[in-house]
Amino acid sequence: MSQVSEMTDEPNIIAFCCHYCAFTAADLAGTMRQQYAPNIRIVRLPCTGKVDVNLILRAFVEGAEGVMVAGCEIGSCHFIDGNVRARKRVAHAKTLIQEAGLDPERLEMFHIAASQGPLFARTANEFTERIKGLNAKEKASAKSQGEVCAV
């Protein structure tokens, strides 16, 4: 269960975006004036294939409440199958964060084409809502137990 006092209404979210697709879509969203949640911090990578498991874990260690990994659609990866590898690593990282006590829903892989500005904005907003929901659920659960749980 998260440290209740550290949860904010605007959750800390990191989005690892590949340069060729997702980052371009994010850029496009901005150009199109498609509003998306301001709490999302984008980290641009050449490819989601650059994301390794510990990069995701470090994000959570450093305080991220949600991590998005956004890459090209399957079959369109500039580096052929970087996004396929990323999918597997995200799936594995979900089990690792769950083992450590975090809800695996706090991590997700998305596929967004370069032209899909509106999709990026929508995805970012939906993910933010998801994290807010998880935070609220955990806060309520902590309250009802009266204290922060220890193992």
Binding site: L96, I97, A100
Partner: protein, 224 residues
């Protein structure tokens, strides 16, 4: 190489919780190849520990260090000794040999195993490692076309196959295990040596394997 798998986090957390500062010590040889206890895996485990400790409100400081091999004392150098000194306990991500060597080297520190050591095996493909050798102490691979019946036959038959060999799979675990004797048969057939399998292999002398007691190899000619 020696193939191992990382222990579940719960088990390791229970050990770490008993101490204030824990050093996660990785090994750069076998367990790096099988992606269980190398520098990368140490990093992942350390991150998981930090997250878990934060979630549970526990106070555990985590440090990381990886050496070339934990089965040779020369790699437990000054830098390693200092890191060990600073920690209250070590979780060694070496194989069972490494964990013990580490404990022998630092007898005053609690040393816990981070891995479950499994077998001597080979990389079939990235992410898949399979058992090949049982360390029986008397290699008979020449008789079986290079396929070991001791390690790869579920019943270690020297005069196999048993009645449970079906479509080249072992009845004990058909999804994962090939029938070693089917492999031996096919290999010997290819080598034109099938007639050799008609010979009845006598009982194995197991005294050279672990059955005979813990083993040691000494080379007087190279001792200093």
């Amino acid at each position: 190489m020696i193939v191992a798998e990382r222990k579940p986090l719960e088990e390791l957390y229970a050990h770490a919780k008993k101490h204030k500062k824990v050093l996660f010590l990785g090994c750069g040889t076998c367990v790096t190849v099988c992606m269980a206890g190398g520098e990368k895996e140490v990093g992942i485990l350390a991150s998981q520990m930090e997250i878990a400790a934060r979630e549970r409100g526990d106070d555990i400081a985590v440090t990381e260090h990886t050496i070339t091999r934990q089965c040779d004392s020369e790699f437990f150098d000054e830098a390693t000794a200092r890191k060990v000194e600073e920690a209250d306990a070590i979780i060694s991500l070496g194989c069972g040999v490494g964990v013990q060597f580490c404990a022998e080297r630092f007898p005053d520190k609690p040393v816990y195993p981070g891995l479950n050591t499994k077998f001597y095996g080979a990389t079939l493909e990235q992410g898949v490692w399979a058992e090949r050798c049982a360390g029986c102490g008397e290699c008979v691979l020449d008789k079986f076309g290079g396929v070991c019946p001791v390690a790869r036959c579920s019943k270690s038959l020297l005069n196999g196959p048993c009645g449970g060999s079906s479509e080249g799979r072992c009845e004990v675990d058909p999804d994962n295990v090939e029938c070693a004797w089917q492999l031996i048969h096919d290999r010997m057939e290819k080598l034109g040596r099938l007639d050799e399998l008609e010979e009845n292999q006598p009982m194995k002398d197991w005294s050279t394997s672990r059955d005979g007691g813990p083993r040691k190899v000494t080379r007087e000619d190279v001792r200093l």
